[in-house]
Amino acid sequence: MANPSRIETQVLIIGGGVTGTALVRDLALRGVDCILVEKDDINAGASGRNHGLLHSGARYVAGDQEAAVECRVEGEILKRLASQTIQDTGGFFVAVEGDDERYIADFPSHCKRSGILVHRVDVAAARELEPALSPHTIAVFEVPDASIDPFRLSLESMAQARTLGARLMRRSRVIGFQREGRRIRAVQVRSMQLGEDVWIEAAQVVNAAGAWAREVALLAGASINMTYSKGTLLVTHGRLAQRVVNRLRPPGNADIMMPGGTVSIVGTTSTRVDSLDNIYPTTAEADLIVDEASRMLPALQTMRFIRAYSGVRPLVGSTGVADGRTASRGFALFDHDVDGIDNLATITGGKLTTCRLMAERAADLVCRRLGVAAPCLTAITQLPVAPECKWTEPGHAPREWMRTGQAETLLCECEMVSASAVDTIYAALVAAGDTPTLTDIGMRSRVGKGACQGAFCAVRAVAHLYQRGDFQAQRGLDEIIDFFAERWKGQHSVLWGEQLAQAELMEALHCGLFGEELRGDDMHGLCPPALNGKVSP
């Protein structure tokens, strides 16, 4: 590393979640030159591990009116301008016997106070519309909740930013800052694949690292008061309802069920954690969610779950919040003046629903500092559809398959992912100068997301990529192993019933037959009889 290369740009954005990608798009639309660096992949953090609820705001009406209004306004904007990422399912708030009568009675007026459309639905009529609702339901209200695909949102925001000249560096981790007085002169970024460092010299740096924002700020010599809350979600095999179903009570555990394509997502939990490492769903969390959510939707007691996942919410404390720029209790924007840095900002907290607004506020600050007068365009500009980004949507691939007359080779039968979908995704990544992995493809498609959890389609996708010459030597086998290691984190907590049998089949295939657990330098050698007995590694 005698002479690490240096790159220049106007704004460096750290973190490729919904906030960072919304920000890079916002700035690119204002004509600002940006680089986004992401240590893993787009939406590797909370943005890929959330509920996907585009909040109407109703959840917050009693406790946090400001957040409720913010959600309502932002939800309306996204429904208008990013409709391809949204399924406007509508939502029910449902109370069951034993829930707080007072909260139920106040709910409609609280919604109205925040401008949220609400109407009471007769319980019997609601149960006809959504037969999965509990017979112990005592009150139902309808609100304009919707479901949003955060992968597609981030991928398409990034795609548009790129067409405007922005650069994305995946698997590039910020590991240090070079200061010069009150300024950051350069940011040290390590390529996780090559192990090489580059220095990025930017006039302004924005830390959009979500729960990692504290760590990143510390590297720059700034401090943020932050604690972490882990949330876990379960994915069912089969769709439970047409609408989002929320529990009508103050926000608590396991009170949201989100339908999406052929699955439903139920959760979440909230546990304080001290570290961002080793975050995975536990059996206790899975049990808690099943027991609690089945009070609204009793079928969950016997439903099959295909996987679980956990994300971390950054909880930003009040001390250290710089000044009046803190837009709301929902998210936090720090200008780091008090830390003695003039060209760093941090934008964190908030919600998926409000990511556009968060980006706007951060971009306003950056542009003010840069002397750029261009206004924010994201509240009035359509998010363009990017063809390579459409495969994340559950149900898209089957429709496409029906449309093309079924003359396509399917690599995944659970989710009907075709070979050409994999090719499109692969080509788009390569065109961006990347070396795509199987996990990358899984993130951008439904590969591995069906009931078999990739046991079959991962093998087919790898065979397909070897056949095309994209994978060589041991690479595809390494990729299969990495892919399952990653998927397994979300599986082991929900393995009972039918899904346990599925996991057994997966292991019978990948260990029993393929012996993947034996791979490694020592084991790859043969074991001819001439060796006379045992071969020890």
């Binding site: 060589q472 030597a473 037959l513 657990e517």
Partner: protein, 436 residues
């Protein structure tokens, strides 16, 4: 030997996986009257390879070249393992009998020696096993010697890429080449299934056209590998025709389930038990077993041949979660038919490791039925649940067949040992057929 509904069978085998099939086969060979209940779904998933024992202890990933040495080590270090309860001679006898029956049913295996063989799999890994189908044995030799070799596959076979195998072997087999071909008559078909191609190759003309496609590609090849699809019922004939037509050793490579070798195994085992006079209820499911002093009455559902079967002994070969012998809710694993106690970890939290490929394996896979020395499952007090109930195969506790590579061995050897015990119990020291 035909049995009507009223008959009392010597043995009722519940399950038609590897273990159930082996039990029915051995029971019939010993002259016991036998009825078998259950479908052969599990075998369809098998690879055709008959594992005995390769990896022990799991945590060390120690790989054994000689399965019987591995079993001897196992007997010392893990005496509770079901395979540690059977002497080597019996294991050998059982395997030989099983493989002989398969051979007679048209599915020959290479002669069983002392050593394990390394077999190349369809994804390019190397899998140690014991019993190798004759159609795959040239591959074992080729893998050991690595001569110039051609790997062939077909457009539309989604889980098999010859290029993947060659690429994965890389420098370790520089003289390996690959070629993808269009299977005759499948030009417009985007997806092909190995079983269809296997069936198609039983047609002499299609076979000849396929061989003609390969011939010009041979070059300096000294062996040729294909995905395992060279014939179904007549795989011996198809394989021989390929070797004769190409003039070289031809070998099959085991593929992802459901595979052609799995289908062949199922067909051969069904034929083997049928010719030995075993009564079968393929489509039935057992939902109860009621024991009295002398017999067991087995309640069936979906049974065209009657609702009840009466037998003097019962062999439970219902497998694990996939087979449905064991079922699990969120807190507990149970045995599915009679609720026998299941040895298991104390909570679900301990069922699985955090790492899928953790070398020690997942604790849930060692859950199962505990047995006495006569293969009788134990009740909660640790005594045999019933004197005439036996359990074999993967439902047994204290084993992890997927990691040890002992699936078929466990099925075959435990079935053999339990049937021997049953014969003794019913007919004294000698078996009914009069053999020792």
């Amino acid at each position: 030997m035909t049995h009507t509904r009223q008959d009392t069978f010597d043995v009722a085998v519940i399950g038609a996986g590897m273990a159930g099939m082996a039990a029915a086969l051995f029971a019939a060979e010993r002259g016991l009257s036998c009825i078998q209940i259950g479908n052969g779904g599990g075998i369809l998933f098998a690879s055709g390879l008959l594992d005995l024992m390769s990896i022990h202890p799991l945590a060390e990933r120690r790989k054994w070249g000689f399965p019987f040495d591995a079993l001897a080590a196992l007997a010392l270090e893990q005496p509770q393992h079901p395979l540690a309860r059977i002497d080597a001679t019996s294991v050998r006898t059982a395997f030989n009998a099983f493989v002989a029956a398969l051979g007679k049913a048209g599915l020959p295996y290479a002669p069983l020696g002392k050593a394990n063989s390394d077999v190349l799999t369809s994804i390019g890994t190397i899998k140690p096993t014991y019993g190798v189908p004759r159609s795959m044995i040239a591959g074992v030799k080729a893998l050991a010697q690595r001569p110039p070799c051609l790997f062939v596959d077909f457009h539309g076979l989604r889980e098999f890429s010859a290029r993947q195998i060659v690429s994965t072997l890389g420098d370790s087999w520089p003289a390996a080449r690959f070629q993808r071909l269009q299977f005759p008559g499948t030009e417009a078909v985007p997806e092909l299934y190995a079983a269809h191609l296997a069936r198609a190759l039983e047609n002499v003309e299609t076979r000849a056209r396929t061989i003609d496609l390969v011939k010009p590609l041979l070059g300096d090849a000294q062996a040729i590998g294909f995905p395992a699809l060279l014939g179904l019922e007549h795989s011996v004939e198809v394989h021989a025709a390929f070797e004769a037509g190409l003039g070289l050793p031809v070998f099959e490579i085991p593929t992802m389930p459901t595979s052609v070798p799995g289908l062949r195994l199922l067909m051969a085992l069904e034929a083997a038990v049928a010719t030995r006079g075993v009564s079968r209820r393929h489509h039935s499911t057992v939902d109860s077993i009621v024991f009295d002093d002398e017999t067991a009455t087995i309640g069936l559902i979906d049974s065209p041949g009657g609702e009840r079967v009466v037998a003097r002994t019962v062999v439970l070969a219902t497998g694990r979660f996939m087979g449905r012998g064991l079922v699990a809710d969120r807190g507990h694993v149970s045995e599915s038919i009679i609720g026998l106690p299941v040895h298991q970890p104390t909570s679900r939290n301990e069922w699985h490791q955090r790492d899928f490929l953790d070398p020690t394996g997942h604790a849930i896979n060692r859950a199962g039925l505990l047995i006495d020395d006569s293969w009788r499952p134990l009740d909660a007090a640790g005594n045999p649940a019933w004197p005439h109930l036996f359990a074999v195969g993967s439902i047994l506790a204290h084993q992890d067949w997927m990691r040890s590579k002992c699936g078929s061995g466990l099925a075959i050897a435990t079935a053999w040992a339990a049937v021997r015990q049953i014969t003794r119990q019913l007919y004294g020291d000698c078996d009914k057929a009069g053999e020792p």
